[in-house]
């Protein structure tokens, strides 16, 4: 086999790469064109460097009917970070409690957390909205993030990781007189560093990409995430400035893609090991 080029595989993979790269490239090139050129359908695949100032303009001004894009990026970033860090923190703590301690209703607590797997937001839209407004969390940043922080998958994953830690490690820590906090900080967290990194990527992307939840609980334009903002931009069909929409699409894609590409190794490992 050596030395021969595997043409069928290259053709298939090349097709796959183009399938994703082409739309992105089109948007990148399109963002640098004049809005009326795009509206006439004169999309070109060659970007025009002089049109790059559209990025400065959307960042500062936004698009007709929306706020500035820098603000949406900031909201999205804070939301994604809060959700990712929040999920990791409360999942590590609850898995720690369930694995290393004995307390009343321990298994009941485990099942209550587990059951959230089966209750995505989409199936309980109305009552969740009611609870949110009863707690006056509509149009607040905590309302945007806190309810999404509960995570059965992360808890299950950390539980598995903790269960697999050899007893010797634990005994050694006990001999050294390590208390519960030191054990968590000095042993459990370093040992599960790979899982934490992988889950961070998965949850950051999850938080960044939310659409239904912010649509439901944040109608205030000040709390528009970038995903909400971009859909708003294409809503008013007639006056859509397509170059601004495309520039915003590029800006919306950059952060989650960077996180995935930079942390690819851990991300792939963590994803396939945690089975979601």
């Amino acid at each position: 086999m050596k030395g021969r080029i595997d043409w069928p595989a290259h053709v298939v993979l090349g097709f796959g790469v183009l399938l994703f790269l082409l739309p992105i490239w089109l948007v990148l090139a399109g963002s640098t064109l004049q809005p009326d050129e795009v509206a006439r359908g004169e999309l070109s695949l060659i970007p025009r460097l002089s049109g790059l100032d559209v990025y400065a303009r959307v960042l500062i001004e936004g698009s007709p009917g929306t706020g500035p894009v820098w603000r949406m990026l900031l909201v999205s970033f804070c939301m994604a970070m809060s959700i990712a860090i929040g999920k990791l923190a409360i999942s590590i703590l609850s898995a720690y409690a369930i694995v290393f301690f004995r307390f009343p209703f321990r298994m009941a607590a485990f099942w209550v957390i587990f059951i959230t797997l089966m209750l995505p937001v989409e199936v309980r839209i109305i009552p969740t909205f009611t609870v949110m407004s009863d707690m006056s969390l509509i149009n607040t940043f905590p309302g945007l993030t806190v309810p999404l922080i509960a995570s059965a998958t992360a808890t299950l994953l950390f539980r598995q990781t903790f269960l697999a830690i050899p007893d010797e490690l634990f005994e050694a820590a006990r001999m050294d007189g390590a208390g519960p906090w030191r054990f968590l900080r000095d042993i459990l967290i370093p040992v599960s560093a790979t899982n934490i990194a992988a889950l961070f990527v998965i949850q950051f992307v999850y938080g960044w990409n939310q659409y239904l939840w912010p649509l439901l609980v944040a109608t205030d334009p000040k709390l528009d995430t970038i995903v909400i903002g971009i859909v708003k931009m294409i809503g008013g069909e007639t006056q859509t400035e397509w170059n601004r929409v495309m520039a915003t699409a590029v800006l919306a894609l950059l952060p989650p893609i960077s996180v995935v590409v930079l942390m690819q190794k851990w991300f792939v490992k963590g994803l396939t090991e945690s089975n979601k």
């Binding site: 609850s94 199936v123 009552p127 707690m135 007893d167 971009i230 995935v260 994803l271």
Partner: protein, 294 residues
């Protein structure tokens, strides 16, 4: 499995699970209970008195031809999204599993699309398929095909299926490639020695060994297609034209939030919940078998 070694604190562990438990109860269990209760009640037209009506909302729902049409449409949509996405991902994973040049390059370029938001995928596909400005859309019209997914229901369905399936290819690719790589090289080598080659070897040796991954992905894809595609569909067509792309989740959102029909929307939520529970149960039953087999 239980750990032998434990700390003896009593209060600490309760404090540790409390945040997770509180969020779960307040934002998951309580609203779910509410949904079940609301689905069994009906408010008078002025919203003043609420009356317990048993399963009436459910009977109404299933007697409504619009609802059964939406159920069938959703099944059609989910099946095609899962099939297209899994099929293409399988093709790519098999190719990427081979010993070829640039394999690291190919992998990175097939993994990053995991990061694309469903709603942003919609925007990208609008820019491709828009009848006036889209690269492909204009080309289809130049061929005289009368392309306009804003008017033509069948075309609208095609568009949301393509955009939704496209977005999920990366996820499937990651799992299928990992699955292929975990198949022992000696098994494949033995099959090669026995003269099994090409598609025959794939069908008789590789695919059966990969079946657990494929089945797991099938369930995940169905859940994705049923729930996570809300952003894609809402941004592209809002369920239209007419009801051409209205899936169950779009309908819950329309009836509950836009039209404020709480009883029916809650009943629909409960039906969806039963669907998720069934799919999750299926997944765990099968996952149990897989970890037992390895």
């Amino acid at each position: 499995m239980e750990r032998r070694t434990i700390f003896s604190d009593r209060l600490l562990p309760i404090l540790l699970v409390l945040p997770q438990l509180a969020i779960t109860i307040v934002f998951f269990l309580w609203p779910t209970g509410q949904a079940i209760w609301l689905s069994l009640t009906r408010a008078d037209p002025f919203g003043i008195r609420v009356q317990f009506v048993g399963l009436e909302n459910f009977w109404d729902l299933f007697a409504d031809p619009l609802y059964t049409a939406t159920v069938l449409r959703s099944i059609f949509f989910c099946a095609l999204v899962a099939a297209i996405s899994l099929g293409l991902a399988m093709l790519l994973a098999v190719a990427a599993d081979r010993e070829i040049a640039f394999r690291r390059f190919y992998r990175i370029f097939l993994i990053w699309p995991y990061a694309i938001a469903p709603a942003v995928a919609a925007v990208l596909w609008i820019l491709l398929l828009h009848p006036q400005i889209g690269l492909i859309g204009r080309w289809l019209n130049a061929l005289g095909l009368g392309w306009d997914y804003k008017i033509n229901g069948g075309q609208a369905m095609l568009v949301v299926i393509l955009a939704s399936a496209w977005k999920e290819i990366s996820y499937n690719f990651i799992f299928l490639l990992a699955g292929l790589q975990s198949i022992s090289a000696s098994v494949v080598e033995a099959a090669r020695m026995d003269g099994a080659r090409g598609f025959f070897r794939f069908r008789t040796v590789t695919l059966p060994l990969l079946m657990p991954t494929v089945f797991f992905l099938l369930v995940v894809n169905l859940v994705y297609a049923a729930f996570d595609t809300f952003g894609t569909i809402w941004a592209m067509t809002s369920g239209g034209p007419g009801k051409a792309t209205e899936t169950l989740v779009i309908k819950v959102y329309r009836d509950g939030i836009v039209n404020q029909d709480i009883g029916s929307s809650s009943a629909q939520s409960v039906v969806l919940m039963i669907g998720v529970i069934a799919l999750t149960a299926l997944q765990f039953r099968f996952l149990g078998r897989r970890s037992g087999g390895e």
